[in-house]
């Protein structure tokens, strides 16, 4: 398909900004102007719409079909949240308005959304307060690590190291490192999680804290989680909860009760905001009481007269991690979702997410190698059986064969501590019929792997392109048409 630039024709126009109602002025010195206009395409509005409509047909979203991408919680995104985010009272609100004197009273609706989202999240997570600033999960992790560092600095602790299990998402070690910490990796045992004794072995006074998902990226809940947190606390370390897997326990159990001190939540996962083709998301961070002072500036507070205001006077705060109050449009969608579900609805989310995952796990475990044969939470991890590997069939081939059967593949090759991993997260919004169809496709692929493995190596054949040459792309990067 042609690039949009290749569809350009001189002097063709879509949007016409002029004419202007003020006199044209040639006030800017020539040396400060660009030599030639930017080579943007020249198109009609119809050209633009056709181009992007065609591109959209070469895409696959949750609205297309089942999207069991593990660790990403690809649940249905309610349409009403899109509608509400576009209300002019929210969409056209300038972020600097509440920073003007008198201006706060002009944004009471938006401030209340932020304030109540904070209250709801405290209740769901068992935390004392949240910042809405972080703009995605990984950004929340970095914010959390900065809070951890601020806490230790405040107490005069000399801490250098963060403990992270080998099953962790790559963002965890990356965030810890960027915040200035060394990473000490802890292995996963045959039980499928990080054991207390291994934490004990890795623990010393240098340890600033631990970063964990719970359930972990294998979809397993560590029953010793409270003891691990206690152990970390014994050296005045802090326990960080990566909330990417919150869908497994939302409304059922609270990380604060497990002993976690800092948490982030991916609103684009558990709270149903759209993934946008890779973002935007939002990653609010919550902390326990003793860490409240370190949260970023500003915080929304409710005054005695019932009005809402931004509080800036926070001397121990880590400062600003985002320009304003976070990805407000995303927070707003999550708020609406929480209002609609209410406490019972949220609990049903976790229950059905876990039920769907266990159902798929049980149905597939005769056909693929289950990484850990235990009750899972919201996702299950398989790996490719030896018999298939013997025929040179890999996780990537199974993924591509699923594409030809109309499904988005699971996450493959993650978590990295499971070889040939296939991580399936169905989410609660999918029906038994959909899961059955997926299971059937997976079984069919397993049979095909035995009978005609070469067919799998050619998949997919139903898509606009077959497997692209990734090696060539990285060797001679062509990343812009100039």
């Amino acid at each position: 398909m042609k690039l949009i630039f290749e569809k350009s024709a001189p002097d063709r126009r879509a949007v016409q900004p002029g004419p202007s109602d003020v006199p044209a002025s040639i006030n800017i010195k020539k040396a400060l102007l660009r030599e030639k206009p930017a080579e943007l395409p020249e198109l009609s509005e119809l050209d633009v719409i056709r181009h992007f409509t065609e591109l959209s047909r070469r895409n696959f979203g949750v609205d297309t079909n089942f999207y069991p991408l593990g660790s990403c919680t690809m649940k249905y995104n309610p349409k009403v949240t899109e509608r509400i985010a576009a209300y002019p009272g929210f969409a056209h609100l300038h972020p600097l308005l509440p920073q003007l004197r008198m201006g706060g009273m002009l944004t009471q609706g938006a401030l209340r959304v932020l304030y109540e989202t904070d209250l709801f999240l405290r209740e769901i997570m068992g935390m004392a307060g949240f910042t809405m600033q972080p703009l995605a999960g990984a950004h929340g992790e970095l914010t959390g690590m900065m809070i951890m560092a601020a806490y230790h600095r405040d107490k005069g602790n000399k801490k250098t190291t963060v403990l992270i299990p080998d099953s962790a998402h790559g963002t965890n070690p990356a965030s810890a490192a960027i915040a200035g910490y060394k990473v000490r990796t802890i292995g996963t045992t045959e039980n499928g999680f990080m054991e207390l004794k291994d934490v004990e072995k890795a623990l010393d006074d240098d340890v600033a804290g631990v970063m964990l998902t719970c359930p972990n990226t294998l979809g397993l809940f560590n029953p010793h989680i409270r003891d691990i947190c206690d152990l970390i606390h014994s050296v005045d370390g802090l326990a960080y909860y990566d909330g990417a897997n919150l869908n497994a326990i939302v409304g059922k159990a609270r990380p604060g009760d497990f002993g976690f001190d800092i948490v982030h939540i991916n609103l684009h996962k558990t709270f149903a905001t759209p993934h946008g083709g890779g973002g935007p998301g939002a990653g609010p961070v919550g902390v326990i009481e003793k860490l409240l002072d370190f949260l970023p500036v500003s915080i929304v507070v409710k005054r005695d007269d019932g009005t809402y205001a931004l509080e800036y006077d926070r001397p121990k705060s880590i400062g600003y991690v985002a320009p304003f109050y976070g990805n407000f449009g995303i927070i707003l969608r999550a708020y609406v979702y929480m209002l609609m579900l209410g406490k019972n609805g949220l609990k049903r989310v976790a229950e059905n997410a876990v039920l769907n995952a266990n159902y798929v796990k049980e149905k597939l475990k005769k056909h693929y190698k289950l990484a850990f044969d235990r009750t899972c939470k919201h996702e299950c991890v398989f790996s490719v059986p030896e018999s298939m590997l013997g025929k040179s069939v890999h996780a990537i081939d199974i993924a591509k064969a699923l594409i030809d059967r109309g499904f988005h593949p699971p996450t493959v090759y993650f978590p990295t501590n499971v070889k040939e991993a296939m991580m399936i997260e169905p989410t609660e919004t999918e029906s038994k019929e959909t899961l059955d169809a997926f299971v059937e496709a997976m079984i069919e692929i397993a049979e095909q792997a035995k009978a005609e493995p070469d067919m799998l190596k050619n998949a997919p054949v139903t898509t606009p392109v077959s497997r692209p040459n990734e090696t060539a792309a990285a060797k001679h990067p062509n990343i812009a048409s100039l």
């Binding site: 690039l3 879509a14 949007v15 900004p17 202007s20 002025s25 040396a31 660009r34 943007l40 509005e45 633009v48 992007f52 591109l55 070469r58 696959f60 297309t64 209300y87 009272g89 609100l93 600097l96 008198m102 002009l106 703009l135 999960g137 950004h139 992790e141 900065m146 601020a150 070690p173 990356a174 490192a177 990473v183 059922k252 684009h268 149903a272 759209p274 890779g278 973002g279 935007p280 400062g319 609406v336 609609m340 579900l341 209410g342 406490k343 019972n344 059905n352 039920l355 769907n356 009750t375 594409i403 038994k432 606009p464 692209p468 040459n469 792309a473 990067p477 062509n478 990343i479 812009a480």
Partner: protein, 443 residues
């Protein structure tokens, strides 16, 4: 239950098939943690939630005539932008890990990267970062990696909303961050030249700067390069319709806030951080990058590329921790730029400058209102000195229906009476006249 497809009957059936009860599914969680009461409201239906949120939206005042900028702008957004980005094939997808199913997102991002390069005069761009502030911080970290040095110079004409973020991010890092105080509205050459040495990783500047003043950093680029340092320039993408590009000035890394490219202000986000650089630095760049390649039948296709830089492969050695970025906002920017096109962007930028220039003349004709800086070129924002405290005047003008501007005393010393005023193509001559009258009446 809302948004759950399985009926109660089906749930029972499924539990029976796997031979477990619902409680068994959670038996690995110690019971002391389970099902504790939570103080949350009961759910409400769509009709009620829409009414409730319409009421909250009404408590936000969007009827002020907006002369407020500061890096976040009230530009016109064509309807076709919404039509495209609300296609759910785009917005309900995720990161294009499976290229065969994601050619739409991938090609769009490749086109977005191309458009950002063409706009800024650079050679490579990434697929987006969170916002202009984090993009500036990432550019700084990239410069530290490239040079292996740890000193960074930043002029205080760079948006203070970004500078306070950089301050936060560098708290735990061994970075020697030195600020220069701008000279009459422009980057302070004298100080910057004196500070650039062989420990300097980068100089960070902005054009047009926070005060709206237009500069040409070619001389600073040259001075930085002489000492092996990089020049990082943050720019306002709409201004690229007419202004000299950072690429033409010799910048090494270009970043900026992309909100003005078709995104509503939305009370602070979602926005778009963009980043562009030179081909020789591409492997040091943070964030996702889409590359063009071919498939098995030699058809042009697109993939995420150069992933060896990223957290999912390199973990604690990655160039950045970013995972989810602002993909839909990048798509928004691309659609916006495609609709405006080569002529439309130039015209929009020119109209912004013309209207700002008109407003400047109109407002400085008011007795007691003076330009803060000596004759300077500005784009669509400028600084005026009022005869009294700007924050007071702004508060009075709110009552008259104007978001008249931003009080600079919030971030700068000795600027109590200074106001930053922004004029976009959306403001009319009549609105500018009314602002002038209102201002005159409250002074």
């Amino acid at each position: 239950m809302p948004f759950i497809s399985n009926t109660t009957e089906q749930q029972k059936e499924m539990l029976a098939e796997i031979g477990l009860g619902m409680d068994d599914l959670f038996s690995d969680i110690p019971s002391e943690f389970l099902d504790k009461p939570m103080n949350l409201p009961d759910g409400i239906n769509e009709q009620n939630v829409r009414n409730k949120l319409a009421e909250l939206a009404d408590k936000n005042s969007i009827n002020l005539t907006c002369f407020l900028g500061g890096g976040f702008y009230d530009h016109f957004i064509p309807a076709a932008v919404y039509s495209v980005v609300s296609r759910s094939e785009f917005y309900t997808a995720y990161t294009p890990y499976q290229p065969e199913l994601s050619q739409g997102t991938l090609q769009a991002i490749y086109e977005y990267q191309s458009a950002i390069c063409r706009l800024t005069g650079m050679e490579v761009a990434n697929a987006s970062l969170y916002d202009g502030g984090t993009a500036m911080y990432e550019a700084m970290m990239m410069a530290l990696r490239i040079t292996g040095r740890n000193k960074v110079i930043i002029d205080d004409s760079v948006n203070p909303i970004n500078r306070v973020m950089i301050d936060s991010y560098t708290q735990n890092l061994q970075i020697d961050l030195e600020e220069t105080h701008c000279a009459d509205g422009l980057a302070n050459r004298k100080r910057i030249f004196r500070k650039i040495d062989d420990k300097t990783a980068a100089v960070i500047l902005q054009n047009p700067n926070f005060f709206g003043c237009i500069d040409d950093f070619s001389d600073i680029a040259e001075a930085a390069h002489k000492k092996g340092a990089l020049l990082i320039v943050s720019c306002y993408p709409i201004s690229m319709g007419i202004l000299k590009t950072p690429g033409e000035m010799g910048a090494d890394i270009v970043t900026g806030e992309g909100q003005s490219l078709g995104m509503p202000m939305s009370f602070g986000g979602p926005y778009l951080g963009f980043m562009a650089s030179r081909m020789k630095y591409v492997r040091k760049m943070p964030g996702r990058i889409v590359g063009q390649t071919t498939d098995r039948m030699d058809r042009q296709s697109y993939v995420l590329t150069l992933q060896a830089r990223e957290q999912h492969i390199r973990r604690d050695k990655a160039t950045s921790n970013i995972c989810s970025n602002e993909a839909l906002c990048a798509l928004t920017a691309l659609v916006y730029l495609s609709l405006l096109g080569k002529q439309g962007l130039r015209e929009t930028a020119q109209i912004c400058a013309d209207k700002a220039s008109y407003a400047y003349k109109r407002l400085t004709a008011i007795p007691g209102v003076e330009p803060h800086f000596k004759a300077r070129w500005f784009f669509n924002e400028f600084v005026l000195d009022l005869p009294c405290e700007a924050a007071d005047v702004i508060a009075k003008l709110i009552e008259k229906g104007f978001a008249a501007g931003f009080p600079l005393s919030r971030y700068y010393e000795k600027m109590e009476n200074s106001i930053l005023i922004c004029v976009t193509e959306k403001r009319t001559k009549q609105q500018i006249g009314m602002l002038a009258e209102a201002l005159e009446s409250v002074l």
